[in-house]
Symmetry: D2
Subunit: 338 residues, 4 copies
């Protein structure tokens, strides 16, 4: 950590700061320059991060040196992590397609949707039993019944299923039925929920918060890992910006950065990024070209009849084309598709 | 709702859309113009909002007409709501100051802090027993013990206390000890938590999510109201933008807009907005000048020793000056301070 | 255009608005619904856009229906435009690579750089003679001398050259020496400069402003087209958001949207988007996968010795790899590279 | 400046970086810690800022210590600057109101508007002769004729006039007629225009770019000062964010920060910040409460008939109320109004 002092800092103030740092069993190095005095502290930034140095008289600014995450970092775990979801591995040479409707729409429907997804060639089935909706008056999902329908869809198709959990009280239940638990964008910093899924045996799909920095995204994964669950797949889905021609703004350029910093696999969600199904395919291709390990996409036999998110949902034909094109891009990069 | 059709829309596509709207028991009006055909539907937008019209062939864009909230709206409740917290009313002519440290730091400490706050002239005491922290390695709060300390601080000072709840499982417990429950910025769209506090008898302080639009902020309040709890105070605390000289970006201009659209009181949080204690006072004054009903501010006898958020915490002397200046601004606007 | 009226609008106010619209020779349609009265006006939105309807008593909000651009739109020009820069066509089946250093660094240097770029297989050479720099104390470019060096580099290599113009007074001079004029991100709404390049015979590379919406970006191109110059290549280079692990945030998902709305070619700039050379290659691949017609990239034989932007500049080896990979991605999408 | 090295940096890489720094006649201090080696360089950051250290092997990140601006800084000029515009001083104890329509609308009109503004009690008249418009089909202003009308309005009322200049070729002309030259938000980084007004004798009103950081805003002022013109008034007018209930997002909290860092006066523009006249008054009050030295506001006898920006323009009655309320807020803060 680096502490930049004000131009008019007094010796008494410097002594006070130095004493404070020593009281934490750390050693400060004071350098006086032409324009500023700075104090460098090399050591455990976790201890320092907690200290409000900026509240101390004479301090102008504080600059951390280390990134705040540890267990998710490639510094502590240089090899890439591969996450097994049923019989599918995410994070290896082969890219993975997770597809399905936004919501579980009924027993018959969910089986039909899973069959469609399987036939198109996708590898994991997705559908929401618990739906976090902006309006209290919107459909909120089938709950436990929806989880049971999902388990039936798996039986019928053999596809592993991933579904969202939004309440720490539901984690055990969702784990019982699903093959992978999804943490949605609005819950990326629901820390108690992160802790609960961190205690699960099942893998976790962690979506980036719509206003989270990459560092905060990785710290959310750190919460899960710190509880013992190492099977985490990170999911880029766009952030909120001033641009509204797309639903969110997904810069695929963060994918190689995250893969450089962390050993965890990264996938992308073109449906929530774009918000309109007409542009889902090119967006998905761009994520794979940037190095993503797969995609998660909303698909439905008849998007205009979907219970939610229909406008960003592709149909069966588009899903077939998407998977075929993803394979071509993957092979152009010396990878392949499952 | 207004549906703008593509320039090359076919009559068959128009007929399909019209039929779809009629199947919802609503009446569409089709207007053909020089450049575009549009379909206007005046009626219950809640039903329409659920429909993915943008997924239907021939549709270019969809424009809602009504705002999505109802119970929080002044259209359904023209009179201003005043929220009682202990013996203090928020939302009337008199502005209110809520002050205290970021976290409960111990039994002795919390009583000392509450006495300081009372002596300075603040009206409600704040301190966190449950702390949502970006890092799993940071101090996470005293939990239930912290709530008991808060209750003692109230006994000692007579000040009502507000404290944050971050888990639906803790709502009953927090309600037992606190006079007001705070929903933090990261939980503004934790919908199950909103529902739980919506069933409480105690008032709720709802902070704006750091990436929430004003509409989403009011929809979060709508979740709480829809469960029966009408005692909600909205709190502006800044949004996340590219500017980082302040911790967040708080445009006080949204305060008169929110008060125009909703009957609920609005306060501002200069500590989290600014992130640096040196600028807390002018920021707080600006919120009152824009029409806020009060402020919530982090205060501590020795900010540099605070367990968390010390850099944005003012000390006792600054709190005294702040309250005196707030009073002057309030009176310049024909209001007063409690 | 749609005008939504306030719930308490009076008949007198409605009559006034209707009269105002009729005075513009347009015909309003008034629809009274359960919750709101709305006025629909189908016709020339250019006239309406100028009218401050929101300033009129009784008006709640105004919603435009049409997009504001015309000449750049595929509605008025359905075929794709191909822009010729020297002997290179941008916008056809073959993708194009524009490469070179940020700045012209001297006569000998610019020739060396152009030779490097040519040898690596790029198709157009870039280097700045006029540099818009954030600090008045930074190197501001070689000016006219730099343009002459560029012309020599073209003679030596046969590569067409593109260079930035930042002042309307320099347009004629730049046009004399360069094959394509670049408008930088900071000048995207320098309307007089747009008009001047709009009168040129040479093609224009228009970069998106860092805070411009897609609509504003296309309106900037409209300025150029409205002066008669149809040879415009649009360049995505990222927008400014809260995320700072990359220099800018470039969502490649806007590329297929822009190509859907406009007939103009679109390229991407991975150097300014990422800000770090280590991530330039995957970013560039993602733009092509999303449908871009080419890229513009900063390249230099020794990035650490570059006069400016060295940290985001790739070296000769990276440029060779980039071009080879771009070709593979292009062919995977049934396109090719020049 | 601080250079953080990668965990796997080699001694050879360190030696290379050290040699590079010494070649700039600066002295590096290398500190090896538990997790990272860092290199501290205290000295002229202007030289360092130009160096692409991040392009050098072994470097993880680079952190500047000093702020980039000099002449605008209170470190080099501790006393506050007061800027004289005609007979009005901006930046002293008394706050200033600049008011008038968005555009010059004709000779008779501009005189009528200036008389209205004077009668309401404002101190400086504003109106645009050159209008930077998003659409090439919108009204672009009266140009030189408009400047002449403005000069007549000054003769009639005695009010100094401020008007925007958008082209370096027009600076001499605008200086001839106006008392203050305005640089608009879209030209904040039009560096050649900044240089031209920097050579003027007349004061400059510099608006913050809608995507400019505070540091970039002050660097734009540095451009003007570096040419010799010290009479600069900074104007906050909001930045672009995801929130669209206001036209821009103006955090008044940056005002005390800018006044802490710089000696230049700061005013606020509630019209462009809010975008709707109904909220202009509370917004304006908030800027003064935060410490602004004045405001610039759009006012017109009949906003609905204004040629441009009518929806955000207040009328004569609102201007009178605004000025009266501004005076009360100013006096509550021990300042006054002119």
């Amino acid at each position: 950590m680096l502490i930049v002092l004000k131009p008019d800092v007094t010796q008494e103030e410097i002594d006070h700061i130095v004493a404070k740092i020593r009281s934490l069993n750390l050693e400060p190095y004071v350098s006086k320059g032409m324009y500023r005095t700075i104090i460098t502290i090399i050591g455990d930034e976790d201890i320092l991060r907690e200290q409000p140095f900026e509240a101390i008289a004479g301090v102008e600014s504080v600059k951390p040196i280390l990134r705040p995450f540890k267990l998710v970092s490639r510094e502590t775990h240089p090899d890439r992590t591969e996450v097994e979801v049923g019989n599918v591995k995410i994070g290896g040479d082969k890219i993975v397609v997770i597809a399905g409707p936004c919501a579980v729409e009924g027993e018959k429907e969910v089986i039909e949707h899973a069959l469609m997804v399987k036939k198109a060639g996708a590898h994991i089935f997705r559908a929401g039993a618990y739906k976090p909706r902006t309006s209290p008056y919107s459909f909120q999902g089938f709950g436990e019944q929806g989880l049971k329908f999902l388990a039936k869809a798996r039986e019928e198709t053999g596809l592993p299923v991933v579904t969202e959990v939004i309440d720490p009280r539901d984690v055990a239940l969702v784990e019982k039925y699903a093959d992978m638990l999804q943490i949605g964008t609005r819950n990326m910093q629901n820390f108690n929920l992160l802790r609960e899924v961190g205690k699960c045996q099942k893998p976790v799909l962690l979506k980036r918060g719509m206003s989270a920095t990459v560092n905060e995204f990785l710290m959310a994964a750190e919460y899960i890992l710190s509880q013992g669950n190492r099977n985490i797949v990170l999911c880029a889905r766009g952030i909120r910006t001033f641009e509204d021609v797309t639903r969110n703004t997904l810069d695929a350029g963060v994918i190689p950065i995250i893969k450089d910093w962390s050993h965890l696999p990264v996938i992308g969600d073109p449906s929530h990024a774009m918000g309109l199904n007409a542009y889902v395919i090119p967006a998905a291709l761009s994520y794979i070209a940037a190095g993503a390990d797969g995609i998660i996409v909303e698909a439905h036999p008849s998007p205009e009849d979907a219970i939610s998110d229909g406008q960003q949902t592709i149909d069966s034909d588009q899903l077939v084309i998407l998977i075929q094109k993803l394979g071509r891009i993957a092979r152009a990069l010396d990878r392949d598709i499952y």
